[in-house]
Symmetry: C2
């Protein structure tokens, strides 16, 4: 059987309290005893039970991560960065794909509570704000990659608004004037901010973006393709389109191809996220990169800080985005229109 603290204590001829103290580096134990007990733990291959120590009020060293879908490359990359930072610090993470459905969120949260995770990162949308209130009352929480207005929560986000601006200015510099946007569902705050930033930058240059040129899509590539196809069949089609994520942009690329519209010669496409998808399409996508690694690590750090130190004030960390120029954007070419 697996060795317990009793086995170690017996071997060492001390009480379990003493063993516990050397494990946790508490109290004063003579150096000699310490060494001896460590040697015995080594020999017995003793590893303290996380379960037992969690029951006595310590941490479970487990974190929860709520995201829409781990199969979505952006969230997969984000999860990797969360996992890595957690692992460095001795925590493991339970990943929960919610499909943005409140009932799934509820089920997962209830399970995570029962398992007494030390904290929860919320990177998923939810309709019911009471849910969020309940969660953050029940355990340390940080919101990841989105904004929750009027709600005090630790937050780590990329500069979505600024990123939208980066995309817009890039296209403006290339001479584009007639542009359109493929956005995600209105309820996704990050997408909304990207569009706002894009719009704002255009307006700063005296160009307005009418509502009809901001097209809403669901989250699948096919939606991007379908919506883009409609857009590109207009009599006065845009010379550039800004897509709120790589998946939609990949769909737009396909629509352009089927319509016989060449990218970037006849149509420039800028996307957001800079996941692996952006480097795999043809042409590869010019994309506003989120600092995925920093986002994940930042969320973990903030969460752990929250429950290791008592920390009253809610922090908000906003990270810079960066434009990665690839082959999907080029100078606006008037002859094609």
């Amino acid at each position: 059987m697996k060795a317990t603290i009793y086995d170690v204590a017996r071997e060492a001829g001390v009480s379990i309290a003493t063993v516990s103290k050397v494990i946790n580096e508490k109290g004063k134990i003579s150096e000699e005893r310490r060494r001896e007990i460590f040697a015995i733990m080594e020999r017995l291959q003793y590893r303290p039970s996380v379960i037992a120590s969690a029951l006595t009020g310590k941490h479970t060293y487990t974190l929860g991560l709520l995201i829409p879908d781990i199969a979505n490359p952006f969230f997969a990359e984000l999860a990797r960065s969360v996992e890595d930072r957690g692992h460095q610090l001795g925590y493991s993470v339970i990943i929960c794909s919610t499909d943005n459905q409140d009932d799934r969120i509820g089920q997962y949260v209830s399970m995570l509570k029962q398992k007494q995770v030390d904290g929860l990162m919320i990177g998923t949308g939810m309709t019911n704000m009471d849910l969020l209130r309940d969660i953050s009352a029940a355990m340390p929480t940080v919101v990841l990659g989105r904004e929750v207005p009027d709600f005090p929560a630790h937050t780590v986000v990329a500069g979505d608004f600024g990123g939208g601006g980066l995309a817009a200015r890039h296209l403006l510099q290339l001479g584009h004037r007639r542009m359109a946007v493929l956005a995600e569902d209105e309820t996704i705050s990050s997408s909304r901010d990207r569009v706002r930033g894009f719009k704002q930058a255009l307006e700063d240059s005296g160009i307005s973006l009418p509502e009809r040129d901001v097209l809403l899509c669901r989250h699948r590539m096919e939606d991007g393709k379908r919506v883009a196809a409609g857009l590109l069949s207009r009599v006065e089609r845009p010379t550039a389109v800004f897509c709120c994520n790589d998946l939609l942009a990949a769909g737009a690329l396909q629509a352009a191809k089927e319509a016989g519209i060449r990218v970037p010669e006849e149509l420039s496409v800028v996307s957001f996220d800079n996941t692996i998808l952006a480097s795999v399409t043809d042409p590869p996508l010019t994309s506003v990169a989120q600092p995925i690694e920093l986002l994940g690590a930042g969320a973990v750090d903030l969460l752990i800080k929250e429950f290791e130190q008592a920390q009253p004030a809610k922090e908000r960390i906003e990270l810079r985005t960066e434009l990665i120029v690839r082959g999907s954007t080029a100078v606006a070419n008037a002859t094609f229109n």
Copy 2:
């Protein structure tokens, strides 16, 4: 504070043993009491502590999943299917990205043991076979997506050998005779089997595949690109290439493009896995699809069966692959060579 079993017992005027029994549907409890206790649990929002019940010998309802990298789309999709099946059955899963490094595997396994996960799915390669032996001695284990020769373990795999054959016969039917293969590292058994299946099918048609036409790559897209570039610059270049996964195929596509070789007109490309990448490239990839959903679900089911029922004999489940034809393959065109 959170309600405990004591609170429920007190409210109901019974002992905690009785409450425990109604929770676990054990022993005989009068229907009346049962109803009453359920009502009280509901009212108190009582949820049993998984930690406490795990300490008394029950399950933790947590599973471990070892994979090379969650950021790799194939494993992200696999993880999603594992998560979904687990969630249906009341289990959550801790995902561990090992980068195929034995020391990371060791660290993760040690952590998972300390947390007393109920079982472990191993979808990662490892050099040190003693590690596998230790793991499967310590907890219920199933090997996922790879073969471990000479080692008794539950296994769930796709038919890699058969899939390689599918790819070969598809190309043969299209009239290809001069073909090459981009394979992963030799140590990856699934890749090896894919190549073997491909080779065998060619030989069955009287075509041999010399060793120099099987090129080894590391796991990144850039490696596929670099190796493919070398291949395509040969004086007698192949008319078709079989890539052991989507990532390498995406790299090959890029190499072909840079070399000015049109796909599929001048070069056919078949890949393996059929992840999202296959539908995003241009042209989209003809790919041998792994039944990712069934793989993940099968692994979870087998694992749970292993520890819920005592099950001595090790099972091996092999699932069919399927060829998904997209735009990257076409009839071999002699005029181009």
